[in-house]
Symmetry: C2
C-alpha cells in the first residue's frame, strides 16, 4: 500500500530499467550524467516544479525541457503530451507526500508511555508535511487544476478516500482499546485531530505565501493535541494523561 500502481502507469521499458539500476534521484555529484537514462526522473521533478510555479496552462514544455536539461522531444517520447506529463508529475509527488504522511502516523504504533508527547510528536511531523514547500505546491496545483482534470483525485488517493486519516483512525482505535483514549468512533476522533492540525495551518499559511517557523509549527501541534485530549482523552482518569496541568493552549509565536 504505497506504490498504488498508478504512478507506474505508462513508463517506457527503458526508463523503468534505468531507474531500476541507479536512480535515488539525488544521484552522485557527477554533472549532467550524460547518456544515462534518469532523464525521466529529471523530467518529472522539473515538470512538477514548473507546473506548480506557473500553473498548467502557463507552463510551457520548452521551459520544462530547458530547466530539466533535456530536449523537448525527449519529453514527448516519454509522456506523449502535456496532460499525461501533468498527471505523471502529480502522481509521483503525491506518492512521495502520502508516504511521508503515513510514516508519521505510523509512529503512533510504538507508543510507550506519554500519550501527549507521542501525539505531539506525530502532530508535529504531520504539520511539517503540511508546511513543506513541495506539499504546498502540490496542494495549489490540485486546487488549480481539479476542475480541468477531475481524475487527478483518483490519481492522488488509492481506493481509500483519505488514507492518512484512515490510518490515523486505526491507530487511535488501538489506543482507545488500550484505555488511553475515550471509546467512541475512532474515525470521528481522527477527523477532529486532523482538522485541528491542518485547519490551523490553512489559516496561518495564507495560501502558502507565509512560511511557518519550526517553533510555530510545534506550537500549532501542541495546541491541537491539547484540544484533542480535552475532548477525547480519558478525562482526569487513570491513563497516561493526568490532565497535563493546563498546558497553556497555543503559545503564539
Amino acid at each position: 500500500m504505497l506504490g498504488y500502481g498508478v504512478v507506474m502507469s505508462g513508463r517506457t521499458p527503458a526508463a523503468a530499467a534505468g531507474s531500476a539500476t541507479t536512480t535515488t534521484t539525488g544521484s552522485p555529484a557527477r554533472p549532467s550524467a550524460r547518456g544515462r537514462i534518469d532523464k525521466r526522473e529529471a523530467i518529472l521533478a522539473t515538470a512538477f516544479v514548473v507546473f506548480a510555479r506557473e500553473g498548467y496552462a502557463q507552463a510551457t514544455l520548452d521551459a520544462i525541457a530547458a530547466e530539466a536539461r533535456v530536449a523537448k522531444h525527449t519529453i514527448y517520447n516519454h509522456f506523449g503530451d502535456k496532460q499525461t506529463l501533468l498527471r505523471a508529475a502529480i502522481a509521483a509527488e503525491a506518492d512521495r507526500a502520502m508516504a511521508k504522511n503515513l510514516a508519521a502516523v505510523d509512529r503512533l504504533r510504538d507508543h510507550d508511555g506519554d500519550l501527549r508527547a507521542t501525539l505531539e510528536d506525530v502532530g508535529s511531523q504531520l504539520v511539517a508535511c503540511y508546511c513543506d514547500e513541495r506539499g504546498w505546491a502540490l496542494r495549489r496545483l490540485l486546487y488549480a487544476e481539479i476542475s480541468q482534470f477531475p481524475d487527478l483525485l483518483d490519481i492522488i488517493t488509492g481506493r481509500a478516500s483519505d488514507p492518512v486519516t484512515e490510518a490515523l483512525a486505526d491507530r487511535l482505535a488501538r489506543l482507545a482499546l488500550a484505555g488511553h483514549l475515550r471509546a467512541g468512533d475512532p474515525a470521528a476522533a481522527a477527523e477532529q485531530l486532523a482538522a485541528l492540525l491542518t485547519g490551523s495551518l490553512e489559516a496561518r499559511c495564507r495560501y502558502g505565501t507565509r512560511v511557518i517557523s519550526a517553533a510555530e509549527q510545534h506550537a500549532v501541534a501542541r495546541a491541537a493535541v491539547d484540544t484533542f485530549l480535552h475532548a477525547f482523552g480519558t478525562a482526569p482518569g487513570p491513563a497516561g494523561t493526568p490532565a497535563a496541568g493546563e498546558g497553556d493552549p497555543a503559545a503564539r509565536c
Copy 2:
C-alpha cells in the same frame, strides 16, 4: 469595515453612477436591460465564474464577453486589461463572502441561553459559507493564482490577516468574560474552533468536487462544537452547558 475600499478602485464614474441608481445585481426580470449601465456588474460576475471554471490563463476574454452578453471592447473600457479584471472580480467576490462570514459570526452577539445551540447555529452557517459553490470557486482561484498574483492576498483581506477569526475571537472573549467559556486566549480558542470547522470540511469536500448535504454540514458543525466545548467550555460547571449528555460526536451521514 466592509467595503475595504479595494473593490471600488478603478471604477468608471459612469459605472459608479449606474450602480448607484439601479443595481442589486439580480435586477427585475426585464430581459437584457438594454442601454442601462449595469454592464460592469455583469462583467464582474461573469468574469469570476469563467475564471473559476477555466483558470486565469485558460479563460479567454472572448468567452467572458460572450457569456456576459457584452462586447469585448466594453471589458477593456472598464478594466483595461485581463489582470485588472481578475483582481476586480476576485475582490468583489471576496467582499461578498467576507460579509456573509462576518454576519454569521455576529449572531453570537445576541446569545440568550443555550451556548451549545448558539455555537452550533453559527457553526452551521460558517460551514454553509465554506461549502458554498462560489466560496469554493473563490478558494480554488486563490490557490491557483496566488503565486502569479501575490497581491491578491491584500485584496481579499482588509488590513487584518483574518477578519473572520478575529471577529470570532472577539465574541468568544465576551462569552468567556460572562463565564460561559473558560478564560484563556480567545484568539487561540477562535483558531481551534475555526480549524475544527474548516479542517473537517477541507477533508470531506475533496477539493470542492464533492457536495456536502445539509445534514452532513450540520453534523460537521455539531462535532466541531462538541469537541470545542470539551476543550473550552466551563466543564460540568454552572453555565448554560450541562455537559450536554455526551451528544454522540459526529453522526456520520
